[in-house]
């Protein structure tokens, strides 16, 4: 919530692969909390698609890259955080992470 309040265009929460979390059911609880945050964001008139939780193993860089790329695509389609637009003069959509930066 604070990240969006401060202008983040998207937040991707990455949890452990389901069933292999060190904290047993911690990743399932986290997903519920993220869903609750999405609900509150939607109530506030904010695109809840900007917040997403994914689950993957620590040794799955290929999957991670795909999930990040998909998140970037979603955020690009949505445009800048509307809070940022309201606070400051409109600016161009940040380019985000380059393909080279996210390559495993």
């Amino acid at each position: 919530m604070k990240a969006f309040e401060n202008g983040a265009d998207g937040v991707l929460v990455a949890g452990c692969e389901e069933g292999s979390c060190h904290f047993s059911e911690g990743n399932f609880l986290a997903k519920r909390r993220v869903n609750y945050a999405r609900q509150i964001l939607a109530e506030a008139g904010f695109e809840s698609e900007r917040l997403r939780m994914v689950n993957l193993g620590a040794a799955d860089p290929g999957i991670f890259v795909g999930l990040v790329e998909d998140m970037i695509k979603t955020v690009r389609e949505l445009g800048p955080n509307p809070c940022k637009q309201a606070d400051a003069a409109p600016e161009a959509m940040p380019e985000g992470i380059t393909e080279q930066e996210i390559r495993p």
């Binding site: 919530m1 969006f4 109530e43 506030a44 904010f46 309201a86």
Partner: protein
């Protein structure tokens, strides 16, 4: 404990619309335990209100504060400065807390951010159930510790009604029949004889029907 639920963000925005400096005031007691109005919820609701304000250009300036207990003047005093430097208070306390704040700050609008629901318990993680209607004349000793006024949808003192299906309430099939529970409990503690006694109609004057209630303890007055 008192159990409450938050109002939705659109409801809060409508309540607060037109105000600028807003204090979101949490309470560290019952509503913290039921995850409705503690420090964490103050932070979440404040963030949501700031986001809504930014999007709709409502110009909210939100300050956050949580005190130990909103229904107690000793703790309310700790919020005095914050209340005075804001235009309005959005209380995340129960109905008693909201009114305690409003009575102390006569010039300040104080709004309820929660819907106060009932006196209840945490049944299991994330589930709260109603247990007490605060009727003012407790009959729990007669019913094996299970309140027929609160937990029977028909508030029957001489049940069961005959409408239950298996052990479920016919009004709320997702809830157990209170009279089934009373029977099992009294049987378990060897007090089934209590059910042979017909309870007279309840005097509701001890409840809200007798007007707003006051308790005076002369031994504690100064």
């Amino acid at each position: 404990m008192i159990v409450a639920e938050r109002k939705t963000i659109p409801e809060l925005v409508e309540i607060l619309n037109g105000h600028k400096k807003i204090l979101v005031l949490g309470c560290g007691t019952c509503v913290t335990v039921c995850l409705a109005g503690g420090e964490r919820e103050v932070s979440i609701i404040s963030s949501a209100l700031r986001i809504a304000s930014n999007i709709r250009k409502l110009d909210f300036e939100i300050e956050e504060l949580t005190i130990e207990r909103q229904c107690d003047n000793v703790f309310i005093e700790q919020a005095t400065e914050a209340i005075e430097r804001n235009d309005v208070v959005l209380s995340l306390g129960c109905g008693a807390g909201v009114q305690a704040i409003a009575e102390r700050f006569l010039e300040k609008p104080v709004y309820a951010g929660l819907n106060t629901e009932f006196i209840g318990v945490l049944e299991e993680r994330g589930i709260w159930t109603e247990k007490c209607a605060a009727c003012g004349a407790c009959v729990l000793h007669q019913y094996g510790g299970i309140c027929p006024i609160t937990r029977c949808a028909k508030h029957m003192l001489n049940g069961p009604c005959g409408g239950s299906r298996e052990d479920r309430c016919e009004v709320r099939p997702d809830r157990p029949c209170a009279w089934q529970l009373i029977y099992q409990r009294l049987k378990g503690i060897g007090q089934l004889d209590r059910l042979k006694k017909i309870a007279p109609p309840k005097n509701w004057e001890t409840s809200l029907d007798g007007g707003c209630r006051v308790i005076i303890r002369e031994d504690h007055r100064i």
